[in-house]
């Protein structure tokens, strides 16, 4: 049996690690690219969101490469995501593919294990624990070096150097098969990055908030983090796969997180509105308080929870006097348009920090 699973940023490294350690064969897909989105958009409902289309595109690519089992996450939040797996299965069957679909429901470990046990040859507890720890280690390692790249890219000595170190680090993490070497790789990557930066503080810090998939998958967000970083802006992203897993598969973490979100969003939103709508508001408030210079919300077109959040964000912007820009993406978005908005947003912030303005004009000029 060959397992196919969709991409979401670096999540595939952990997932692949899990299956490999369990002795299950996987289909390795190329990163999300134009073909993925074209395939997905062709067979998706027009008004479904870009994450849905991209994931469907990945499934078709996997099936074409010989996958006969597809894995998807489920959910029961008031967002369409809970039905993605089911709908995608229907679409793929209509297209004539034959496969087994496994939809994992968060917060239900017992069912998850049973599903996996039923599908794959019996797995011992020892094996399962080993594989989970390895997969978790890989996910955390990949997320850690990604957050390093956000921090160091703004300080890099020449364009592209941090991205190169980061990419090589990911390849090493993908190949590593024990926890000790993962720790070494993370340390090495940090050392290399530290050696590749200039000793200055970036003048502008921007936080990225919004829907998880759109934030994490670089093709879908048009590499906003990289674009900002190359312009000398330090970026912080509100969510990583490892944090999401922790907050969704461990019940007490989930409760703790929800309490924190509700506390931060107090005065703006007091309900879960599905997806990451509440998180977006809570994170916007938190980043404003932490002194970020600007916030960018990235959302898929037609995403209900994020649209709710988008309509509340102007109040946060007003109360905290912080620029907030919302960027909606779909398969028709243009890279040029996004670049223009990001550059203008950086200018807007730089103008606000007028005394530091001259430095930035030179920086932006250099970068372009």
């Amino acid at each position: 049996m060959y397992v196919g699973f969709p991409h979401m940023g670096n999540a595939h490294i952990g997932i692949r690690g899990l299956f490999k350690a369990l002795g299950i064969l996987t289909i390795d897909l190329p990163p999300v690219n134009r073909l993925t989105v074209e395939l997905g958009a062709k067979y998706s409902p027009e008004c479904s969101c870009l994450p849905f289309k991209t994931v469907l595109g990945n499934y078709i690519q996997a099936l074409e490469k010989g996958a006969d089992c597809l894995i998807m996450l489920g959910g029961c939040g008031p967002c369409r995501f809970g039905y993605f797996g089911n709908l995608q299965e229907k679409i793929l069957r209509d297209l004539g593919y034959d496969f087994k679909m496994i939809i994992l429901e968060p917060l239900d470990w017992r069912q998850t294990l049973r599903q996996l046990q039923e599908t794959f040859s019996p797995v011992s507890w020892k094996q399962l624990i080993y594989a989970s720890r390895l997969a978790w280690g890989k996910t955390v390692a990949a997320d850690t070096i990604e957050s390093f790249s956000h921090f160091y890219r703004a300080r890099q000595s020449r364009p592209g150097i941090i991205t190169g170190i980061y990419q090589r680090g990911l390849e090493k993490i993908d190949k590593a098969y024990d926890l000790a070497s993962l720790r070494t790789i993370v340390k090495e990557v940090e050392g290399e990055m530290k050696a590749a930066v200039l000793p200055f503080e970036p003048e502008i810090k921007i936080a990225l908030i919004g829907d998880i998939y759109t934030l994490i998958e670089p093709y879908v967000n048009y590499q906003t983090d990289l674009k900002l970083g190359e312009k000398g802006v330090q970026v912080e992203r509100s969510i990583y796969s490892s944090r999401w897993l922790k907050e969704n598969f461990i019940p007490w973490e989930k409760k703790k997180k929800r309490r924190k979100m509700l506390r931060d969003a107090k005065g703006y939103l007091k309900n879960m509105v599905g997806g990451h709508g509440l998180d977006t508001i809570a994170n916007a408030v938190r980043y404003s308080r932490e002194g970020f210079d600007g916030i960018i919300q990235i959302l898929p077109m037609t995403c209900m929870p994020e649209i709710v959040a988008e309509s509340i964000l102007p109040r946060v912007a007003e109360d905290y006097q912080i620029p907030i820009m919302s960027l909606a993406v779909d398969e028709h978005s243009s890279d040029t348009g996004l670049q223009t908005r990001l550059e203008a947003f950086i200018d807007l912030i730089a103008q606000r920090k007028k005394d530091k303005k001259d430095y930035f004009l030179s920086k932006v000029h250099e970068a372009s």
Binding site: L35, Q339, T340, E343, L348, Q351, L361
Partner: protein, 319 residues
Amino acid sequence: MKGFLGIDVGSVSTNLVVIDEQEEVIASLYLQTAGQPIKVIQEGMRTLAKTLPERMEIAGVGTTGSGRQLAGVLVGADIIKNEITAHAVATSHMVPGVQTILEIGGQDSKIILLRNGIVTDFAMNTVCAAGTGSFLDHQAVRLQIPIQEFGKLALKSTNPVRIAGRCSVFAESDMIHKQQLGHALEDIIAGLCEALVRNYLNNVGKGKEILPPIAFQGGVAANLGMKAAFEKALGMEVIVPPHFEVMGAVGAALIAKKEVAKVGKTNFKGFNISDAHYQAKSFECGGCPNLCEVVQIFEDDKVIARWGGRCGKWENVAV
């Protein structure tokens, strides 16, 4: 005498402006890009060289618009700026104290809010281009009215018809329908202007605090009917500043002047770039599964710039 050149390469028009040291516009050109930005920039430079005073020396160049990278490489720009910042800089200069800028160009429309001379918010149309210059052009051709007369005709209307303006294709169907019902042409045109303004305010201007003074610019600002419709919808006076159609280029020139004052020299390649042979070619990079489309700009046989790659390796011209 020193001059500063600003070039705005948009999807529909390419504009060139030269300002002097007093920041007065002394020459401006409005050309159709017609999908051939390189040719148009070269042509524009040739024309400009002829119209400028003999003693004029270009001491700085700035480029803006969606083709700003390309233009920047061709002419040797001192600064390459996005069009939102360029418009804001130019309008603050022309309309002191401006708080709201409404800009409608060939294929995009934007709103820029300024407070105390600083840009505080902006928005650009994302998924809809209804109501931009291209659509008005198309309607003028269809109704066989010169685009210059379009706006004036709208002002003659006493009883504008309500046109569905959400989608430009449906707007056209609706206009045809209203014509068939026998409504007067000027009422239909005035109705169209109002529909487009409604669409703009609902899309781009949604949730934005529009305060006076309001400047209206971009090619569509030439349309008196649109200006009147904005004034009616907002209940405030709308100013169409001088050089409204080349505002982006004015902004680029102003920014270039500032940049050169700081750096002390210009990278301007001179007007003779109009004689060199430039060519843009693209290829799909197969280096990784990203399949980036990389654009290469050739000066004669030499590659002078590349862009479009995600990893940054092609940006290095020496490769």
